[in-house]
Amino acid sequence: MSELLLPPEHRYAKIIQERHNEDGSELSILNLGPTHPATHGIFQNILLMDGEKILEAEPTIGYIHRAFEKIAENRPFYQITPLTDRMNYCSSPINNMGWWMTLEKLLGVEVPKRAQYLRVIVMELARITDHLICNSILGVDTGAYTGFLYVFQFREKVYEIYEEICGARLTTNMGRIGGFERDWSPKAFELLNTFLIDFPIAWKEFENLFERNRIFIDRTVNVGAITAEKAMAYGFTGPNLRAAGVDYDVRVAQPYSSYEDFDFIVPVGKSGDTYDRFCVRNAEVWESISIIKQALAKMPEGNEFHADVPEYYLPPKEDVYHNMESLIYHFKIVMGEIPVPVAEIYHPVEGGNGELGFYLVTDGSRTPYRLHFRRPCFIYYQAYPEMIKGALLSDAIVILSSLNVIAGELDA
């Protein structure tokens, strides 16, 4: 037990000894985490506190370091999607699609328009679920459990759509090079349409519960504010940066998967505090709903769901049994004998938390030579000690949950 306590030579111990408050009180140390119930994930922060006020924080991460990058160097390209699922598990389809698009960029595969639109739909669904978790948990941390229980049933509805598309709920492992593994069933579209009718009503109610709520506003306005300059210096991207007033969005800056076809606004905040982060996420959910509706309306006719690239796309099992050519392709793909160009690729997508980048180095073999994930959480979490400096302990929890730090993405 004692090895987890603070060693006496720690610099906080020295600060406590030297500091003398006028009223005779002493500074104290609080160990927050790694299994603290209020931290939604496993991060440790050693806080130096003056009463209820936080003077300094020292974060430790890596408690679920799973060595994604090392595994990726030992797995063929197809087996890397399950790894991307488990990075930001609140919005796994975005990670999946980002990975496939990286490979498509590498191999020069052109994805048909319909498959691109389907991808946009599923990515926006994932963004909705991601923001839904973040905002409702922020409600739980400020004392409103009801909102969480209420909107969480709509997360179940999205899971049902995922199940209809790929068979899995959370870790989806969705898609293939060039598109999807199978066409979406009519049932999937049916569920999607029902979701688009029911969800906005519930989300409106959820919004009403919080947006002008006295308690919520008191707990969040001017809590954990960060200026735009500081946020950019710390490498913020995504909703957390936009809350500070910078309208950087990868979907607009570098459109992928036909995002340029859709009309949507990039909501920005002003002060970069917890309330603005809540509002930006909230507004993004509305934009996502609008994008899905546009994609459904503009969906090209037909049933094309993958690109015609037999050398990368697994043929249907039936063909493998009866068709020589398909058998050869099947064998080559499964055994990893498809030649891959030697290249270095960087592909960013707008993940739930910001710019999710895949930096892929290949050497022509069946596995990546090096694959580095630019994980937005990992980069912006380093600003956390500065953001909670001077805040109260209860604010620290609220700030953490408004940043939406996902442990799997943080620790890779």
């Binding site: 991460i61 890596g62 370091h65 060595a67 990058e69 090392k70 595994i71 160097e73 030992n74 960029k105 950019m232 210096a233 710390y234 490498g235 950087y248 800056a253 570098q254 290249a343 270095e344 690729i345 960087y346 960013p348 710019e355 980048g357 930096y359 180095v361 030579y369 090096r370 580095h372 630019r374 990992f378 980069i379 912006y380 979490y381 380093q382 600003a383 620790d411 890779a412």
Partner: protein, 173 residues
Amino acid sequence: MALETIEIQEKLVATFGSAVFQFDQEKDIFSFEVDADKITAVILFLKNDPTLRFHFLTDLCGIHYPDNEEERQFAVVYHLHNWYENKRIKIKSFINGAKPEIKTISNIFLSSNWMERETWDFFGINFIGHPQLKRILNMDEMISHPMRKEFPMEDSGRTDKDDRFFGRTTINS
């Protein structure tokens, strides 16, 4: 007027001469190499030059090339991004395999602090001048650096999976 790659190249060559080389357009990213001892100067120049304005560090990571000659066994890769012109560049800097070290850029970009710690943790690349260069993801007690190519992926002490039943060997390839 968009920022042309040729302009970046000309400016860099005019300022740093032969320390920047190997200019190349790789798919959608303009990339080049920089001598390791000039890296901080080049990045500072790219950030502060009024026309280049690469003000955002997207990514920083290391790569291990054990088959290269000793002078080029490790590489540190920097991705910079200019949001005004929406232009990305990639900078690669090769360093010595026996004594991998390079100057830190954590005083230029605050965000590189943890990324450099991660690179130290994974590859053992020493970032000279880093304020707190210690392990970040792995345990402090660990001696080796796991992302080096010679480091096995699987734990050597594991007992739960008998290789005879899985068709594996003790060496990962």
